[in-house]
């Protein structure tokens, strides 16, 4: 099939009231200011739709921080895009949710960090839990299709049945149990977040039972962490094949972290039409096809299935963006992942004997600051 985008991921701002310890924004997020006006974003949506995009994810950071969000959603609705608002629920009032619905938002994805206040706010780095519960009740009351998204890690992976129960209480259409992927801020906190294989398998079995029980009522997704997959995932379903990410400062990218890879020329939607960037830019062409691959990917029969895995993970762990994703059991660098799993397992046993609070590096504008507020 021809490479064409189906989904535009519009990162409207990297600003966010939360400071989640696994945030997928780049660690230098504060260097990327909001540079696109409402008119710029609307043009980007129009250009994306011309390329074949049908799905629009409005995300960030926290997209609600854009005062012109309603205007952007109304434009997307006019284009017939399926608009999914991906939010922490802060800051949001019932009145604004009514306005967002009137603008034509198709679904809301709300993040819930855990099933109790203390644990949730320990991960989010600020008071937020009760407000999220209120937001969930408004979404339900206003009959907006709801996805609950919970990022799983060592501290909440035992709570899968309770997370399912909470999502049921919210009347969610969909529950995304997404294990942390160890990039960006999550990589900074990997030793404190990575669960054991046994914990992961228990959670997976619980999710399967719930999926069967709730068939037709609530869709349940369980996303495995790359660190426990034998073979890598097809990251973004292949570089420059289906997705376009546009960052708050206007960079058009094949994935959320492509601007962290060195040596790739970054191009902005403020300087070039999206279609040209998609088709011709060095950024989008860099890892299309398989010419760029190293061994063992190059001669691997799975290369058309997983495309060598995640380029950003390969770079983050090995320093080479062209390397086989080290989460692959065939990668010569797979030992890096095995050692991370062993370290996590050792730390867990120490932690369980003498639990110690803190220790996370919270998402912060300055790299120097480590202590939670």
């Amino acid at each position: 099939m021809e490479d064409r985008p189906y989904t535009l991921i519009a990162e409207l701002t990297y600003k966010c009231p939360l400071r989640c310890v696994y945030c997928s924004n780049p660690v230098d997020f504060a260097e990327h200011k909001d540079r696109l006006s409402a008119a710029d974003w609307k043009r980007v949506f129009t250009e994306a739709e011309d390329l074949g995009v049908m799905q629009l994810n409005l995300t960030g950071g926290e997209p609600l921080l854009r005062g012109d969000l309603e205007e952007l959603i109304a434009h997307a609705a006019k284009l017939g895009l399926y608009t999914n608002l991906i939010t922490s629920g802060l800051p949001l009032t019932r009145e604004r949710l009514v306005a967002l619905r009137a603008s034509g938002v198709d679904s809301v994805q709300l993040s819930i960090q855990d099933v109790d206040k203390v644990a949730s706010e320990r991960i989010a780095g600020r008071e937020s839990y009760e407000h999220k519960l209120a937001v969930a009740s408004w979404v339900q009351e206003l009959r907006i299709p709801l996805t609950v998204n919970t990022v799983l890690h060592r501290e909440n992976i035992a709570n899968v049945p309770a997370i399912v129960a909470l999502a049921e209480r919210f009347g969610a259409d969909r529950l995304e149990l997404a294990n942390t992927q160890y990039l960006a801020w999550a990589l900074e906190n990997r030793d404190q977040l990575l669960p054991t294989r046994a914990e992961l398998e228990t959670a997976r079995a619980q999710a399967s039972l719930a999926r069967e029980r709730l068939k037709g009522k609530m869709e349940i997704l369980f996303v495995l962490p790359d660190y426990y997959s034998d073979r890598p995932k097809a990251c973004m379903t292949g570089w420059g094949k289906r997705y376009i990410v546009v960052t708050p400062d206007g960079l058009a990218l094949p994935c959320h972290l492509a601007h962290t890879l060195p040596g790739l020329q970054q191009e902005s939607v403020l300087e070039r039409p999206l279609g040209e960037i998609w088709n011709d830019s060095p950024m989008f062409r860099a890892f299309r096809g398989d010419d760029w691959m190293e061994e063992p990917c190059r001669s691997c029969e799975r290369k058309t299935l997983d495309f060598g895995g995640c380029r950003c993970q390969a770079f983050a762990l090995t320093g080479r963006a062209t390397a086989t994703d080290p989460t692959c059991g065939l990668s010569p660098d797979h030992g890096l992942v095995e050692r991370a799993r062993e370290t996590a397992a050792q730390l867990i046993s120490v932690d369980r004997l003498a639990p110690k609070p803190g220790g996370f590096r919270y998402r912060e504008a300055s790299r120097a600051s480590r202590a939670p507020r």
Binding site: R4, Y6, T7, E49, G52, M54, Q55, N57, G80, Y82, N84, D106, S107, Q109, R143, P145, T147, D173, R174, K215, G216, K217, M218, E219
Partner: protein
């Protein structure tokens, strides 16, 4: 359950549109899409929430081949049950 008396309709989270690159009808839902063949698209057009599954089968039998009613019934039921299980089609009134 997709039984003959059920009145299926699209779930609020699902939306039909035409893929302008291919001309095919697509059923969109959060972060995904299902490419529909012409029969699937026609079945979903008939899912008004008021017409029964049996009624949908009758319409399609009229449009195609009344003698193939049993085959059509099986196809319609299988297709709608699959979408029902995925939460994309509902039958209860809410």
């Amino acid at each position: 359950m997709i039984i003959p008396e059920a009145c299926p309709r699209l779930s609020p989270k699902a939306k039909l549109r035409v893929d302008k690159k291919t001309g095919q009808k697509v059923l969109l839902y959060p972060e995904k899409g299902l490419i529909l063949n012409p029969t699937g698209a026609r079945i979903l057009e008939l899912c008004t929430g008021e017409r029964t599954v049996a009624g949908i089968v009758e319409v399609l039998a009229g449009e195609h081949d009344a003698a193939a009613r049993d085959t059509i019934r099986t196809e319609v039921t299988t297709f709608l049950q699959r979408l029902f299980d995925a939460g994309l089609v509902r039958t209860e009134q809410d």
